[in-house]
Amino acid sequence: MRKSIIVGIAAVLAAAPLAALAHHSAARFDLTIRDHYVTGIVKEFKAANPHTKIVLEITDEKGTRDVEFEGHSLNNYYRSGWREGMVKAGDKITLQAAPTKDGSDGGYALGVIAADGTRF
């Protein structure tokens, strides 16, 4: 019994760092499509390196749901005009988002149009 608990704890400890590691890839997005726009309500906007995490509540023919997008790095967004607080939860924003290759929800945010019309 005690051995199985120790083994269980060891397994959790071994798995935890892997689960916590950042892993980002733009390979699942069709980056050649640059005229696709998605509008939604911001649930989360976390500017970060190497990629930004954006979650929007989207309503379309499929219904209302939360969709996660990847975006450029914090550094690239900063250099193109983004500043802390410019995008907040509850804001209605539009993403210029390269769609997924398999047509599933999500995309890669090549650009952002903030609630006040600021583009970065």
Partner: protein, 247 residues
């Protein structure tokens, strides 16, 4: 009195000599961003070169790695790992770099993943003190207005997007300053990669930057979100443990 005169003359000569040397040596210090032709926009990244002159065993290693990461599209950068040479110098995600130049040392900081290279111009390290890593050991010398840098002690890196290499790789870079017709200061590096274990012939590439005095290098804290997520998980576990214990 005579001693004072002699010291003065010696100091004067030394100062004159160092000023003359400083005048001959270009100054690479500053922030450098990717060079673009006038009017050119930021474009998509260049695709990795095809048909590299890889030896059969090296080709197998590279193919195996590329097949491994193909389904996920994983990259070292996506896992917050720096690119390593020569990718750190040739690409580095399109981010700028900073060069801090001293008499016997140039420090090159690539913004992406805050990769740092030290280019030593004197006091070469003993062979016994060196070991392979992703950016290797760089030793340089001035040849007139050219800086020639030789990098060795690289780890085998099949995960280099453009030019995978073995531990036997040697990268020689020749840096030169120039000024464009519209007055921009340009730094050009001509690179030659030789690797008898991986390639049948030398690989050549050119990289150009332009000086951007108005910008600063930004921090690149890639693992911060993973650390914050980890803390959130610990808090949830702590909360669950407390409620289980009636806390």
């Amino acid at each position: 009195m005579n001693t004072v005169k002699v010291v003065g003359v010696v100091l004067g000569l030394a100062l004159g000599a160092s000023l003359a040397a400083a005048a001959e040596t270009p100054d690479f210090t500053g922030i450098w961003d990717i060079y673009r032709e006038p009017g050119a926009a930021r474009g998509p990244f260049r695709p990795a070169p095809e048909n590299l002159p890889l030896k059969p065993d090296a080709q197998k290693k590279v193919d195996a790695y590329r097949a491994l990461i193909a389904p996920s599209g994983d990259t070292p950068g996506g896992w917050c790992l720096g690119t390593g040479m020569p990718g750190s110098m040739l690409g580095s995600g399109g981010y700028p770099m900073e060069i801090v130049q001293h008499k016997d040392l140039l420090v090159v900081i690539y913004e992406a993943h805050t990769e740092v290279r030290h280019i030593y111009l004197a006091n070469r390290a003993k062979e016994s003190d060196l070991f392979p890593d992703r950016n290797g050991y760089s030793f340089g010398r001035w040849d007139g207005d050219k800086l020639i840098v030789e990098t060795t002690h690289l780890k085998e890196a099949v995960d280099q997007a453009r030019y995978p290499h073995s531990e036997q790789a040697k990268v020689v870079e020749e840096y030169r300053l120039s000024t464009t017709d519209d007055g921009r200061k340009v730094l050009t590096a001509e690179m030659t990669l030789t690797d008898p274990a991986f390639y049948t012939e030398p690989i050549k590439a050119v990289k150009k930057w332009e000086q951007k005095p108005g910008i600063r290098l930004l921090p690149y804290e890639c693992n911060e979100p993973a650390w914050e997520d980890h803390l959130d998980r610990l808090r949830e576990q702590q909360k669950a443990g407390a409620s289980k214990n009636g806390g």
